[in-house]
Structure formats: C-alpha cells, structure tokens
C-alpha cells in the first residue's frame, strides 16, 4: 500500500474534471453553452465504451440536437442521421454487424417528438442496440421550444406561460413506454446535476451496454441534462432548476432490467 505524501506538493498537478479529455474524443473543445449538461453525459458514455473494451468495436448513430456537433469530435465510427431516425439506422447497422456495439445519441426532441415511432418499433423488435437520450425538455438546438417531453408548467419559447396540460397536452415519459414493451432489456434514467448523479449515471450506461452485449434486447438510458440557455436561467442555476422541474416528472433510477428479473 502506498502512502500519499502530503508534506510537499505533488510532482504532477492533480487532474481536474474540467481538463480531463476522454480518450474517445479527438479534442476537449466543444461549442456547447456554459453550464450545458450534454458534454458531461457524452463523456460518461465514451468512458463506458472504453472501459468495456468497445473502442474499436462500436458505431454511434447521432440524431439532431446540440449533441450533434460531437459528430466532429467523437473518435468512434459515427454517422449523423436524419432527425428522429437513429434507432432505424442503428437497426440496419446492427442487423448487418451483430457483433458491433451500436448506440444512438439522441435528445428528447429527437426521440420523443420527431422519432417516437422509430424508438418504439426498434424496442418492439427487441433490437440489440443501446439508445442514449439526453433529456433537457426542450429543443435546445433551435432555441428552447417545447418538445413532447417538456414538463407541465415548463416555460419554453412557445409555452411562454408554461406548458399547460389542457392546451398543450401531457409529457411523454418515454422510459415508461419502452419499459412496458417486451423487446426492452434495460431502461434507466440518470442525471448529471451533481457528482453523485454523474457517478450513478455511468453505472446505468454500463449496464445498458452490457445488456446489448448479452443480446438481451434494446436498452434505453435517459439522462437529464442541463440546458440553461433553453430554459432562460443562469448557467450556474441549471442543475437546481432541472431537479425542480424535469426531476419531479422524471425520477432517477432503474426502471427495468431483464437481468435482475431473471
């Protein structure tokens, strides 16, 4: 056992979370807003892929949203497909290359608004893919409008007085829908609002990929991510705002795990 020497400064300065570049990114630079939760979530996925030994055996299919700009920096084979269609494109990749880990990177707008049919039918078919949905309850990329996942009372650019159930309808809780279907193997919801949640979310992502490797069916990991810009709150206030709004409708934790059931 080594003893940490505390009487003099370390030879190598400690690594801050902020200046740690995941191996599977070509650069740590990104053009997302200050306080955005998406880069944190993406980093977790990349770490899991590396740790599972999938760096040279995975394909990422990216949807349309702010995370889309990572198509230029992810150091994995990837395609940015049409809005909402990532589970369909992934199906084609996976059916032709069943031994490659295939994952989607989508947002709540991409998955629950434009692409609801694709995620549900991919689940119904029990496709062995892992779908990552970054949920900020808005179309962040287009400036913060309501998605199917915006929560009741949420102010967006086109629900200025807050989402009103009587007028705008109710949010789609995609995890519950997917979990209720036979083709899903693993469904969980994480968040990146604090260090503990980040650590927990990484475990959820890992399990999602493991179920894919075990060929158990579709795994969906939803991750609540801060979008201070789309919510019109200060960058530092994103985490608190998120847990008070989205966090109430979307509780964190595992929703389904076929391994646990078996």
């Amino acid at each position: 056992m080594s003893i940490v020497q505390t009487t003099r400064p370390p030879a190598v300065p400690s690594t801050k979370v902020a200046n740690f570049k995941p191996t599977l990114l070509q650069t740590e630079e990104h053009h997302l807003c200050p306080g955005c939760g998406e880069p944190v979530a993406i980093r977790l996925v990349l770490e899991v892929i590396l740790e599972l030994g999938l760096a040279q055996n995975n394909v990422c299919v990216i949807g349309h949203g702010c995370y889309g700009s990572f198509v230029m920096t992810l150091d994995v084979d990837c395609t940015l497909c049409l809005h909402g269609r990532a589970p369909a494109v992934s199906t084609g990749v996976k059916r032709m290359r069943p031994d490659v880990a295939v994952w989607t990177l989508q947002g709540d707008g991409d998955m629950t608004s434009e692409g609801l049919a694709e995620i549900l039918h991919a689940t119904a078919r029990g496709e062995n893919i892992t779908c990552i949905m970054l949920n900020n309850g808005v179309f962040g990329d287009t400036g913060g409008q309501m998605t199917a996942s915006s929560v009741i009372g949420q102010r967006t650019k086109n629900t200025l007085e807050g989402r009103d159930a009587a007028y705008h309808g109710y949010p789609i809780v995609i995890c519950d829908m997917v979990a209720s279907m036979q083709g899903s193997a693993y469904v969980a919801r994480g968040s990146v609002h604090n260090a503990a949640a980040i650590a927990q979310t990484k475990r959820l992502i890992r399990k999602g990929f493991q179920r894919q490797l075990e060929k158990k069916g579709l795994s969906l990991v939803e991750i609540l991510t801060m979008c201070p810009t789309g919510w019109f709150v200060p960058a530092a206030g994103g985490a608190d705002y998120m847990m008070e709004s989205l966090g109430k409708t979307y509780p964190l934790g595992e929703i389904k795990d076929v391994a646990a059931a078996a």
Binding site: V59, V61, T79, L82, A88, V89, G92, K94, M96, A117
Partner: protein, 358 residues
C-alpha cells in the same frame, strides 16, 4: 441458360440477391407488396435480413444504416410510399450512402418524383426504367453497381405490369466491372485510432481529419451528379434515321410503342421510336440527334404529361412535340388502365399522323 417461369417480383428479388443484396426493409403497398414478401422468403437463406418496417420512413432509414455498415441494401414501395422516402433519398445522395430504391410504380405518374425528387439539396437520382423483365434482371444488378460506384441512391423504376406478370427468365449474373473499396464503411473498428470514420451530410469531417465543409461538400456532390449525367445516360432507339415521326416512351410503355412502331414500319410508315432507359440522366443529346431530321415527336406516357418536359427541353424545335398518352387506370386506381394497349397506342399514333389531335 436456365429459363424459369417466375413472377416479375420474384425474378427481381432473385436478381437483387444475385447482385449481393443483403438487407431489405419494406412496407406493403400494391404493386410493390410482393417484393417484401419474396425478400422475406429468400433473403435469410442467403445470409441476409428482411425487416417488415413500421413505415416507409423507418424502412428506408434502416436500409441506409445497413448500407452505411458496408452492405448492399435496399428498400422499396411505390406512390405515396416513395413520397415518404424522399427525405432519406436526398440524405443518401448528400451523405454518399449507396442505396437502391425499388419503385414498383402503379403507373407512370412517378416520373417527376423520380427525376426531380422531393428531397432537399442539389441532388439527383439515377433512375433505371426497364421495358420488361429481361432487362429488369440486368437493371437490378446495375442499380446496385451504380450505387456503389458513385456512392449514390439509385431508383429502379418498375410498374404493375413488370411486378405482376409471369415470364420465363434466366436470372444470370452481370459483371459491370471493378468497384472502389468501401473504405468509408462504418464497421466500428476505427474508434480510438484518431482517424475514426464519419458519414455526414454536411461533409464536416472530424477534428483530426477535417472535411471540406458544407458549401464545398455540396458543390462536390453537385459536380459528381454532373459527371454522372455525362456518363450514365442510356437509351434505346429504332428506325430513327429516316423517320418522319419519332415516338418517345419509357418503361413498359416503351416496349408497347416499340411493338407498334415495328408494325407501322412493316406497313411502310416512316416512323421510329426512342426509349430513355435512364430517366435520369435523361438521354437528351441522343434524343436531340434522333429527332433532328424528323418533323413530329410523339410522347406516349401514362400520366398527364411529365416526361414531355424533358423531351421538349431536348428536341430542337419544341413545336414538333405532342403528347399522345394520358392518365390511365383501372377502376381500382391501382392498376394500369386501357391506354396501355397496342391497338389504342396504334390508333393514337395514326390519329396524330393524320393531324387529328385527340
């Protein structure tokens, strides 16, 4: 040569499998329905996968994924089903995914859809329109070849007659020459190497391997289609050298016209025919030459007048050009109607020759 009596759709599916197709995703729609039935029956035995897509949108995007993974893949439908695929067809053109789309059209009202397209961007789609099942067996294989050669979507344009008529055909293999390696395919192996792959409509590339960026990328795509236009236009013609009248028709209609023109020639009429085999690229220069000396160009197509635009663009004197086709369905609205009949076509040609425009 092995002749077998096959349904048109079955022969097309066998030709696709012979061409190396390994993935198909489709959704039933007459008369494209039998394609997905035969694919489902035959693809798995050849190591392939056929999926009953939930929508045409889903099906064509699945095929894009399979093609992006490096495999020959196709989807198919007709009419409104093809309409739903337009976004993806354009995307495949712009992100350079080789894809084959079978349009087993109900009729010939899809000419604009195929040659102009309803998707976004400066793109074109090579469209092969065989006149019969013999040619179809070759065109199916050619479609996959051209898709891989140029990394473009290719439309195979059949129709009700082709899909649902039985014929004795020989499904033989065609060799169209060498193809470039698929060094762009997403096989998942290049992660973490610093040179991982990307398929993306905007042509941005990655940090380590920057692409040309959207403007230059789309210019290059457009230039590629210009190049294809000069290389891949195909046509068939007969008796045009001394013809006073040239009849232009495509697909099954072209075969009917060819038959009628042969009859009229035998009767001493100075008449010829011209059939665009590729609807895009339209064989415009060949048509210009074929119609240079004639005094009349008749256009037979089963629609209210679509290909006639391309004919007028390419015939020197556009006043020579006259339509003799029309909208023609049976009462179901799904099948070819009474106009696709050699006697009717003959009558329409003769009326035009006598100056009575119907």
């Amino acid at each position: 040569m092995v002749l077998r009596l096959l349904d048109g759709s079955e022969a097309i599916v066998e030709a696709a499998i012979l061409a190396g197709a390994r993935f198909y995703a489709g959704y039933p729609m007459s008369p494209a329905t039998e394609l997905v039935e035969y694919m489902a029956a035959k693809l798995p035995a050849s190591g392939g996968v056929c999926i009953n897509a939930a929508t045409e949108i889903e099906g064509v995007n699945m095929a894009m994924g399979a093609a992006a993974a490096g495999f020959r893949a196709a989807s198919g439908s007709c009419g409104q089903g093809l309409s739903l695929m337009q976004e993806a067809i354009a995307e495949a053109a712009l992100n350079e995914t080789p894809l084959v789309i079978f349009n087993m059209a109900r009729n010939q009202q899809d000419y604009f859809q195929a040659t102009r397209g309803g998707g976004w961007g400066d793109y074109r789609t090579i469209t092969l329109a065989p006149k019969d099942l013999y040619e179809a067996v070759e065109h199916v294989q050619l479609a996959f070849h051209l898709a891989d050669l140029y990394r473009v979507p290719v439309i195979f344009m059949g129709d009700n007659l082709l899909a649902r008529t039985q014929m004795a055909v020989d499904i033989r293999k065609f060799d169209f020459g060498p193809l470039p390696p698929k060094d762009w395919q997403l096989d998942g192996t290049s992660g973490g190497t610093g040179a991982s792959r990307q398929i993306w409509t905007f042509g941005g590339g990655k940090t380590n391997t920057p692409g040309p960026g959207p403007s230059r990328h789309w210019e290059q795509i457009a230039a590629k289609f210009d190049m294809i236009a000069t290389r891949e236009a195909r046509h068939e013609q007969g008796f045009v050298d001394d013809a006073e009248t040239v009849v232009v028709a495509f697909g099954s209609g072209g075969k009917f016209v060819e038959f009628v023109v042969n009859q009229l020639r035998a009767e001493g009429r100075k008449i010829g025919f011209f059939r665009p085999v590729t609807l895009w690229p339209f064989p415009g220069e060949a048509l210009e030459r074929a119609t240079d000396a004639c005094s009349r160009v008749l256009v037979f197509e089963l629609n209210a007048g679509q290909m006639i635009d391309d004919v007028r663009l390419n015939v020197g004197h556009r006043r020579k050009v006259r339509p003799i086709g029309g909208v023609s369905f049976d009462e179901s609205g799904l099948n070819i109607g009474p106009l696709m009949d050699a006697r009717v076509i003959r009558q329409r040609i003769l009326s035009a020759l006598e100056g009575e425009v119907k």
